[in-house]
């Protein structure tokens, strides 16, 4: 990570750099994100759901009070969840627990750090607390994940100290089109940067409003310099696999060195966040079928599933296990076909064109 800009010695009175503690180094912060790769991080609203996610094979859970689709529906101000609920979730599972704070709300973050959660998501899904500034994430021991729609945003968040990036997508819509748009934007901007000379990169950094050294690093690597997950609208196992595969044909990369430079990095996402109402079902009759399918995938033991009624039909629990399988076997179409079968009613979702501008959560953050 190119944070160590070498200020000329003794140019000022301030000590140059500080002795980094062995804990919470950037290496340690990004280390956990690296361990989550190839996995699915699931939104959960209570300990019971967290246990279901753990048994489904989730590599971590995101603790929320309300899933994004409900935040959308209910309106009002969305804030950090109650620490008590987060503690309950933490006590219930052995996998990492994440939770969200409002953009700029560093005190919500201090609270979550004090509880000892594993990652904080400074999230546009909650109502921003600061419309100009994000949290200075370097000041915290706990690492952060942030959303981004494009390369400039991603690099600005990393510059502020984010150790893990996700696409924003359009959370709570069950519509993967925005997540696809965001990852394609990031990828094509990196490809452009990779083909540029240094002088052009200085100018491109200005255009993207991104720090130059991080842009240069991304261009060199052919990918973001931190782990990047897909998020926002992933509704089926096929959606999850779609976000994982992005790099086209690596065989071509071995043949043409020029192409190899551009394709050198893995341009696909490293994993997926799956949210909005993985656990909800709008129809009790469907629930019975869902449990049956769920049972087939998990084990003969019936795992209780809490039910919540709402106006929108959400992705039913049967998709949790197949999504995990899809993320592991994203390049094996036969496996994908198998796990996509018989999932019950998929999330009805929302068309992006039906959203008004102020309903678009991805516009928050900058």
């Amino acid at each position: 990570m190119a944070f160590n800009f070498s200020v000329p010695t003794n140019l000022t009175d301030i000590t140059n750099g500080h002795a980094k503690p062995a804990q919470a180094t950037f290496n340690v912060k990004t280390g956990l994100a690296q361990m989550l790769k190839g996995g699915v991080i699931m939104d959960v609203i209570n300990a019971e759901q967290a246990r279901i996610a753990e048994e489904a094979g989730a590599c971590a859970v995101m603790a929320l009070e309300r899933v994004p689709a409900d935040i959308r529906k209910n309106g009002g101000v969305a804030r950090m969840s109650d620490p008590k609920m987060i503690k309950e979730i933490k006590a219930a599972v052995t996998i990492p627990v994440m939770a969200k704070v409002r953009i700029g709300h560093f005190v919500e973050a201090q609270i979550l750090e004090a509880i000892g959660i594993d990652y904080i998501d400074e999230s546009e899904v909650l109502t921003p607390a600061d419309e100009l500034h994000h949290i200075n994430k370097h000041n915290f021991k706990v690492p952060y994940v942030c959303g981004a729609k494009n390369l400039g945003e991603a690099l600005r968040r990393i510059s502020e100290g984010a150790a893990f990036i996700r696409t924003k997508g359009e959370a709570g819509t069950g519509n993967v089109v925005e997540a696809v748009r965001h990852i394609r934007t990031v990828n094509s901007e990196i490809r452009r940067a990779a083909s540029m000379g240094d002088e052009e990169l200085f100018a491109y950094a200005k255009e993207l409003q991104a720090p130059y050294h991080l842009l240069k690093e991304s261009a060199r690597l052919g990918r973001l310099p931190v782990v990047n997950f897909a998020a926002g609208g992933v509704a089926t196992p096929a959606d999850a696999a779609l976000m994982m595969v992005w790099h086209g044909h690596f065989i071509l990369a071995k043949v043409l060195w020029e192409v190899r430079v551009l394709w050198k990095g893995q341009l696909g996402c490293d994993g997926v966040f799956v949210g909005s109402g993985i656990f909800k079902s709008g129809d009790p009759a469907k629930r019975a079928r869902a449990i049956g399918t769920f049972r087939r995938f998990i084990s003969p033991i019936l795992i209780p599933i809490s039910i919540n009624y709402s106006h929108v039909t959400y992705m039913s629990p049967p998709t949790s296990v197949p999504t995990v399988q899809a993320v592991t076997h994203y390049n094996d179409a036969k496996v994908l076909a198998n796990v996509s079968e018989d999932l019950g009613e998929a999330m009805v979702g929302i068309n992006i064109s039906d959203l008004s501008e102020d309903q678009k959560l991805a516009k928050r953050g900058w």
């Binding site: 062995a22 956990l32 690296q34 094979g57 996998i95 995938f297 076997h329």
Partner: protein
């Protein structure tokens, strides 16, 4: 390289730099597992890996593989290779087993307690070799050594548990090796070289190349 979940690509990147490694194959199916001479089980989430392995029908083949073929488990991999593990999830944790040790998951706590430190691994690296910089991410620790055959490869210099055993962070038992930390998160390839030599020894013949599975 067991590629069901986790930081497998980091291991592959190190293996590719070692000339003795013929090929680093990502293992997700039984055929791929059967094609390799040695296996690395990466860091990641042991709960997720075990569940995914079961669903792919890979769990029993993995257990069979680790009975006799060189296998190295890092962090989550160490947990899966242990005969016993504590602080497992409420549904219970399936383990591959093979290493006569007991481990405690998430010994140090959550992510804010993760750390980096230097380890003197004279058994592996040599007496006066520079220390190995080790990264511990929500790491486990060995709580008991249940056989004389288990060789301690590294210990933490500071006390982290109640007993002296609870400083052991790397072990070897014949063809099995386990580390609680992540060599794949640093550029130091000395432990990977050590494992490749281990694998070569077990391959029997004096072949220069080893097919590695990650």
């Amino acid at each position: 390289m067991l590629a069901l979940q986790g930081a497998f690509i980091e291991h592959v990147h190190i293996l590719k730099r070692l000339p003795e490694v013929a090929e680093a194959i990502l293992v997700r199916t039984q055929e791929q597992l059967e094609s390799v001479d040695a296996l690395i089980i990466p860091g990641g989430e042991s709960t997720a890996m075990a569940l995914i392995a079961e669903r792919c029908g890979l769990f029993e083949p993995l257990r069979k593989f680790t009975r006799s073929k060189p296998t190295w488990g890092t962090c989550a991999g160490m947990i899966l290779l242990a005969n016993e593990a504590s602080k497992t999830k409420k549904g219970g944790q399936q383990l591959l087993g093979g290493l006569d040790i007991a481990v405690n998951r998430n010994q140090f706590g959550s992510q804010v307690d993760s750390f980096e430190t230097d380890l003197h691994m004279s058994a592996v690296l040599g007496e006066s070799a520079p220390p190995f910089h080790a990264v511990f991410i929500r790491a486990p620790i060995v709580t008991a050594l249940n056989s004389e055959d288990v060789q301690v490869l590294a210990k933490l210099e500071h006390q982290v548990g109640q007993t002296d055993t609870e400083t052991i962070v790397a072990v070897r038992q014949g063809h099995l090796m386990a580390t609680a930390f992540h060599p794949e998160l640093t550029p130091d390839d000395r432990l990977h070289s050590y494992f490749v030599r281990l694998a070569q020894d077990y391959k029997g013949k004096s072949q220069d190349v080893v097919t590695m599975a990650n």
